[in-house]
């Protein structure tokens, strides 16, 4: 019964897609192809988002609540006004920077599952520097620079370990990066509960960072901070590196075909290490900007799994920096909306993970099924 419906739905989607593609086909063949490709992926994304949100409605219905109302709450809480949009942008920043870093790593064929750990190391290093300069009263630009640089170095050095192990020992990076996530989180717990703990705070958290190293606010009475500019600048830099530099070209070569890259004289080790330094640095910067922009100190649970969410973002955006920005904003809106739903109808935030994984899987399934359908 269900498979019958499934076939019907797939046929419907197929016929819709073909008619749309035909209507979009202009005279010039080359241009037409890229345009229809664009339309194709646009349709795939839209349907996938629909499926993801549809799956997300199931728990709401199970809990006996109205899914339309829930999505309205979600939309209103994340995009309903200036303060809401500011809040969504606040959540966009870490996803965005982490997504850029993961994209860069995946572009070179380095399966960096260690975003979470690199994020934590960035946050740890930024906090460490931020605490130690607290009594120096440095000028704000210098203090900010020091804290951000510490974040970059923290993330980059954490990324360098699996990169070295891969390049010099031939050890697959996937499990190593995952293990390093656990180590990084435990390290942060140690610092929060141990040497950096603020004795005056009721809950476990570290001492505050220097007030000079706090990122300025962009919109009054919201949490939106200058980390947004850092993310924009990082996107421009990532775009330029990937599109305009030799390193970017080499990264794409190594990612596409390491054997061919090697035989055409590219030093794979060097390219891998450079791109992992950049990737880890970007992700560490995400951690630092969370500390300097929102928390002003290190505390537990500063990441609701940014490392994992950024993997989905990078894959959905096909490693394109601008796509990462768009996907991050969308997922940030979901996160902010889900927070509101947790407050109002007790909907667990983990639903966001389910929605996002469903969207990603749907794009891959649809791309395959539709392409086959179109060919046939």
């Amino acid at each position: 019964m269900e498979s019958m419906e499934g076939v019907l739905v797939i046929n419907l989607i197929k016929s819709l897609a073909t008619s749309l593609l035909r209507s979009l086909k202009p005279a010039s063949a080359a241009r037409g192809r890229s345009l229809s490709e664009l339309a194709f992926s646009g349709i795939v994304y839209l349907i996938s988002i629909g499926i993801g949100l549809g799956i997300g409605a199931i728990p709401v219905i199970v809990m006996g609540k109205d899914p339309v109302k829930a999505y309205w709450t979600l939309f209103h809480a994340s995009l309903g006004g200036i303060p809401q949009i500011a809040e969504t942008l606040v959540k966009t920043i870490p996803l965005w920077l982490t997504g850029l870093g993961i994209s860069l790593a995946f572009s070179v064929g380095f399966w960096n599952i260690g975003g979470e750990g690199q994020f934590y190391l960035g946050a740890i290093a930024a906090t460490g520097i931020g605490i130690s300069i607290a009594s120096l009263h440095l000028p704000q630009p210098i203090a900010l620079f020091l804290v951000m640089a510490a974040g970059i170095i923290g993330g980059a050095s954490w990324a360098l370990i699996p990169a070295f192990l891969k390049v010099f020992q031939g050890i697959n990076e996937i499990i190593v990066t995952v293990m390093m996530n656990f180590i990084a989180i435990l390290l942060s717990e140690y610092l929060i509960l141990g040497p950096w703990r603020d004795p005056a705070a009721p809950e476990p958290m570290t001492l505050p960072i220097a007030t000079e190293s706090i990122l300025p606010k962009l919109v009054p009475r919201t949490w939106l901070h200058a980390g947004l500019f850092i993310a924009i600048a990082a996107t421009v830099v990532a775009h330029v590196i990937m599109k305009k530099t030799v390193l970017g070209y080499e990264i794409k070569c190594v990612g596409a075909n390491p054997v061919a890259a090697k035989w055409s004289g590219i030093d794979i080790s060097r390219v891998t290490i450079y791109s992992m330094l950049l990737a880890g640095g970007l992700i560490g910067l995400a951690g630092a900007s969370e500390i300097a922009g929102i928390h002003y100190r290190l505390l537990r649970g500063i990441s609701p799994g940014y490392g994992a969410l950024a993997i989905i973002i990078a894959l959905l955006a096909k490693y394109e920096p601008v796509g990462v920005a768009v996907a991050s904003f969308f997922f940030a809106a979901l996160l902010v909306g889900a927070d509101a739903l947790q407050r109002t109808i007790n909907m667990p935030v983990s639903a966001v993970y389910v929605i996002e994984a469903t969207i990603l899987l749907s794009t891959y399934i649809l791309q395959n099924v539709l392409r086959r359908g179109l060919r046939a």
Partner: protein, 309 residues
């Protein structure tokens, strides 16, 4: 002193179940050429559904079966994606990992509600084997365990024999080494891979149920604590051989048990550093294992049937 050692060894065996059983399944999956990075997520799913089924039915057997079936459903998803659609296995596995982590906590929260008091189930009782359990040291270590441990004792040699001494095992290995040749010999590559993936993921689901029903007695977010990933490392360390995988699991479970013991006896060392031990050990083991690792040749490569005419 002997009492302490005996307890440590007993706990080692008791704790080896989830990583060993998940890794044994993954050996079959990888031998047939399919890598499953979703292991950690499937373990979390098995832990959640196994716990919930037991909580609502009152029968742990139903819980274990539910965990097993949950794993199978995820296996169906993974094999459809990676065997039928030939999507990159890493991407399929990573998606399943994230899906499993999210869905397990969602299911649990919706079913139990957000309460302050964690529902806790009585963990399985140990069943001493008559006679054997009276042997000094060996008896209490090996033969005063819960029922699933005895199942594990049976599984290790059986899975070894099936993989290396039967035609089924030969087919599986052939499909993982050279699917094209296997296909020309009349082995159904797709069916073999589906079967191996389903077998693997159902064991991962069972491992998850064991975690929530036996080892911990409740479900918490992040219950796997990396065991799924450690199981994947264990497969490499064990060179895709069930017997060596078993030895490796003792090493990991031993470290885990030892680490817990250290937390109790030496409060001077911050517990976070002790908890890091299994993760650091995994990296160390990988550094050692990769030098001599020979993965199945067709691992993580999808197979496409070509028309020969």
């Amino acid at each position: 002193m002997i009492g302490l050692v005996v307890m440590l060894l007993k706990h080692t065996i008791m704790r080896s179940f989830p990583i060993l059983v998940a890794a044994l399944g993954e050996v079959y999956s990888e031998r047939s050429g399919v890598l499953n990075l979703g292991c950690e997520g499937i373990i979390a799913m098995g832990a959640a559904t196994g716990f919930l089924a037991t909580y609502f039915s009152g029968n742990p057997l139903i819980g274990f079966l539910t965990g097993l079936l949950t794993g199978m459903v995820f296996g169906l998803l993974h094999s459809y994606l990676s065997v039928t659609l030939r999507i990159n296995q890493l991407i399929s596995g990573l998606s399943i990992w994230i899906l499993g982590i999210g869905l397990s906590s969602l299911l649990y929260r919706i079913s139990i509600g957000i309460t302050t008091a964690l529902p806790v189930l009585a963990t399985l009782r140990d069943i001493p084997v008559p006679l054997l359990s009276d042997i000094p040291v060996i008896g209490p270590v090996l033969f005063r365990q819960n029922a699933l441990i005895y199942l594990m004792y049976v599984m290790i040699p059986v899975l070894y024999v099936v993989l290396f001494k039967t035609s089924i095992g030969l087919s599986i290995r052939a499909v993982g080494e050279n699917p094209r040749v296997a296909d020309t010999l009349g082995i159904n590559v797709f069916r073999t891979r589906y079967a191996c993936v389903l077998f693997a993921t159902s064991l991962m689901g069972l491992a998850g149920a064991y975690l929530s029903l036996v080892e911990i007695g409740t479900f918490t977010e992040g219950i796997g604590a990396g065991r799924g990933w450690i199981a994947l490392a264990l497969v490499i360390f064990g060179r895709w051989n069930p017997l060596v995988v078993f030895l490796g699991s003792l090493l990991f479970a031993g470290l885990e048990a030892y680490q817990y013991q250290l937390q109790l006896v030496s409060p001077g060392i911050p517990y976070q550093f002790l908890q890091m031990i299994p993760y650091i050990a995994t990296i160390a083991v990988l550094i050692y294992a990769y030098r001599r690792a020979e993965a199945p040749a067709a691992l993580a490569t999808p197979y496409e049937r070509k028309e020969l005419i």
